[in-house]
Symmetry: D3
Subunit: 137 residues, 6 copies
């Protein structure tokens, strides 16, 4: 079993805001991340796939295919977007990196399975000091 | 003459949009950067100051003071903010990194002069592939 | 189960020296790391916590709280310090990154448990080429 | 159990090419990576070893020894080389990072076992966006 | 005058070899960089353009245009290529980064001038420890 | 005129302390950098040399020679050392990065001139947020 990884990037706006709370409670919990007019990040999305090496190609999976899937199905939908307003799969959810990574997993896992490999891990980097990781359960 | 540099960071939302143009022209010129609901970045702000070394301290200027000035006067005003909506000194200006760096210079140059050093250079990094630089003229 | 990570940094002096050995044996085993007058590093401390996502906040744990705990309980005690001389929890121990990371774990694990999450992993980076990792056992 | 890691680097040429296929099929599968006259990379090799901390040294294993083993047995054999033509242990194999990392494991695992530690993990970084990882099975 | 910068990347093979010298002299001067079967690198190409800010766009020059020019005219011609064998503008020249950066300048300077800006600086990074820079004279 | 650059690294302990001042004044000016028992850093030393390209080698100067000079004459004398206690050329000087870079210049400039090139610039990076630069006057 070998693990192969592709990094993609996207730039998006968001805010952390719970609509069922008062402005004050949002400020208390989320601090400046609750700014009404949004803020944003350069996100890095790291996707790791595992599988056996195909002896004909020397590949677990062609990284061009993996890159294409991530771009078409994930980063094109969030890049230069507002994560709270513009992204279908985030509607009704708090736009935290934790919630984002779970939705990314749901999109990517079946698509990668269709290429004979298995989604193993996703990492979503929000700043040079903060990131989240997910193994699908 | 020695040059000393401090890096600070801020996360902000913006869009590139010329209000005197049609939506179509904005899309044509600015592409996805014109997204109506904003996008955002992790900006890095690099500020270089020059001067003679003070023999008593071994410093051109205390980097703690430089850091404090940059934070209080610049990054606190743009961090977790919308550069088009929330920032006084960007009102009425296109929120490009070029325009941003010129405003940062206007703020920082006199404050650093007040500490016996001279602002030499500012660099503003928008993504790992794009940045702007300014020497004040 | 989602994993969230916070990076903090500290700058410290240390030496690798076994007091029960001769100077010659220390030099032989530790090389220039045994320099009597110390040397130092910019350490990076990466702390990963795991847990379920709280539906009200979208968070496993508020990263501001995690950052605060790491700073107050760990990095403030080692930053701009001598790891052999100035740090209570390293007294009587060889100041290796291995021993350091074990002590950091002992401090952080119960505090993070008190915030409804679980310490999963610590990474301590000593140079761009060397680091240690620990999962608590 | 503590995990310690050493990063080494090497610069090499290679091409991805299956000799049993036509030029057209190679181009279709491998794209520009099949360029007849080779291309190349700055590879980063990250090697993680696990074990108990030796109370006399505070070390799982001396990182100088680990570095020496990796250099002598692996990177000296691939640095400034052509991975398809110049490297004995890659003869007859597709010069993919997947195949490379498996061969590196076979070389390193017994040598590290001879130092009282255990090879845990290898990561081979080909570009800032692509890498492979291996745990030995 | 504002300076704007775009980073692009390419992966190429090359060797340092003076055809008018003996193999021994090449080995003596260029060491392992003279390896007959080539080696390679991940090159980073950093291109800085200067000019006045256009008040309608807030731009010195659209970075998408700059990126497009660099890709079409430079990196597409060297990416996944052999710098000694596959690149027209390097024919008959030693494939050093110094010679490469001079040729890149000749290509880019007139094209950028055609966009109302001025090529100011090129940086070509060969490894994390080595790079060259050029200002056009 | 082409500029070529080599990066080297060293790890050292130091403190910022003016012996003619009281402990209190040192604490006031230098803060935790005045810690009596030292602290330390991973320093990066970036050295840029300029000159014409030699048509026989394609080089301004062989980077192996430049690396060798920097290591032998500078980094070997400060690596794993205490900058206040162990380094001849820092005796009697405040161990600031400003003072350090001036001494490095004095050592390197004549040696590089002896290789037919000219020292252009030195950068000394103390942390990811702080660095100093010097052009020799």
């Amino acid at each position: 079993m070998i693990y192969i990884t592709r990094r993609e990037r996207f730039n998006a706006a968001h805010k952390l805001y719970n609509e069922t709370w008062s402005v004050e409670k949002n400020d208390e919990v989320f601090g400046k991340c609750a700014n009404a007019n949004w803020h944003g990040h350069n996100f890095e999305l790291i996707v790791t796939v595992k599988g056996e090496v195909n002896p004909e190609t020397g590949f677990v999976m062609n990284l061009k295919d993996l890159s294409q899937i991530i771009q078409t199905e994930v980063t094109d939908k969030v890049d230069h977007k507002n994560l709270n307003l513009d992204v279908d799969f985030m509607k009704g959810k708090l736009a935290s990196t934790e919630n984002l990574i779970i939705e990314f997993w749901k999109i990517l896992a079946p698509l990668i399975a269709g290429h004979g490999a298995q989604l193993h891990y996703i990492k979503l980097v929000e700043t040079e000091n903060n990131y989240v990781e997910y193994y699908g359960n």
